[in-house]
């Protein structure tokens, strides 16, 4: 059995975890906190790493739960998610520097798509994030969310259908 090391196996998951947390909390600072908490938690349970089937799925599960907790607390404090969304997503765009020119042209539309995805129910959003952005198999997603593969497929189907409908609506309004 391969020895799992924090530096080489857990730490590199930070961006993936961050994106998942960001999709749920819709706030960069919160998402970063969540990733930190997740890694601490994973580190503190290092005596059980050997029993895990996948350290990645384990990290993602913890990350999702912590992000949901954070979201719940934020709701309790009556902070408006709409405000956070605006403040949280913009710096995310700036941090992406791989293709700045195209991004400048498409910024508005990309922003719109982000908002569309943010409006999806959390489960659909998380499924879509893990599938379409992280490229995970249905089976992995199912184990992270503790649901069946069939449910994952249904969630992804609904998410994509909603996105498609919204796109068509935008198109009609635009014309």
């Amino acid at each position: 059995m391969k020895e799992i090391s924090f530096r080489t196996d857990v730490l590199p998951l930070k961006d993936e975890l961050f994106r998942l947390a960001l999709r749920i909390t819709l706030n960069r600072a919160d998402a970063e906190d969540v990733v930190q908490e997740t890694m601490l938690k994973v580190w503190n349970r290092r005596d059980r790493w050997a029993e895990l089937e996948s350290i990645e799925a384990f990290c993602l599960t913890i990350c999702r739960n912590l992000a949901l907790d954070k979201l719940k607390r934020a709701d309790n404090q009556n902070t408006s998610l709409g405000d956070e969304e605006g403040g949280g997503e913009e710096p995310a765009d700036r941090s992406y520097a791989a293709n700045p020119e195209e991004q400048a042209v498409q910024r508005d539309r990309v922003e719109q798509v982000r908002r569309l995805i943010s409006q999806l129910p959390e489960k659909q959003r998380t499924c879509m994030q893990l599938r379409d952005i992280e490229g995970k198999a249905y089976k992995e997603i199912a184990s992270v969310l503790a649901i069946t593969e069939q449910q994952v497929k249904v969630n992804i189907f609904r998410a994509r259908q909603t996105i498609k409908e919204k796109f068509q609506q935008l198109e009609q309004h635009g014309l």
Binding site: Q36, I117, R131, G135, K153, F157, Q161
Partner: protein, 180 residues
């Protein structure tokens, strides 16, 4: 570029029927530039642009994380050292050991004292008397205060004695004459 194939993929994507590989092809297709594609495909360019955008944490995150974990580590070490310290047996005197019971004992003592005091004061009021004394007092009371009752009582007992005598003496012609 075979747009038909991409269109097909796109349809299947929205039906949730694409494989991971096919989704990868779609993403790659949109990543390489969107200028000259048909409107039908261009429409979804922004969706795949979002998918191709992968937000990242700042580069200082690793360092902070490792520091945090080192901090935890040393904290935990401190804790294990604390736990592994040899425990010295403390000598506890009997008084020290029973100290928690002192309060309870005091409460019980106070309750008993109070109970006795209350009991005693009630009894002194009217009931603290011997049975004999009570009987005597009753007799005296009957004699002095109710002469009629006393008289009746005595005459009743005298009647009983008289009856007893009459029953005990056989109706003998000889003796009956003598008594009467």
């Amino acid at each position: 570029m075979d747009y038909k194939y991409i269109e097909q993929l796109l349809d299947r994507y929205f039906q949730g029927e694409t494989s991971l590989q096919e989704e990868q092809i779609l993403k790659a297709f949109y990543a390489q530039g969107v200028e000259e594609m048909p409107e039908e495909l261009h429409r979804y360019a922004s969706l795949f642009a979002v998918m191709n955008q992968r937000e990242q944490l700042g580069s200082d995150f690793d360092e902070r994380m490792l520091q945090l974990i080192d901090g935890q580590e040393s904290q935990q070490e401190a804790r294990t050292v604390e736990l592994n310290k040899p425990v010295k047996a403390r000598t506890i005197s009997l008084t020290e050991r029973l100290r928690p019971l002192f309060g309870a004992a005091a409460v019980v003592a106070i309750l008993l004292t109070l109970g006795n005091a209350i009991n005693a004061s009630f009894k002194q009021d009217d009931t603290w008397i011997d049975a004999d004394e009570y009987a005597n007092r009753g007799a005296v009371q009957v004699d002095t205060n109710e002469p009629a009752v006393a008289y009746e009582g005595i005459s009743d007992s005298l009647t009983i004695v008289k009856e007893g005598l009459r029953v005990s003496t056989p109706p003998d012609s000889l003796s009956s004459g003598g008594i009467n």
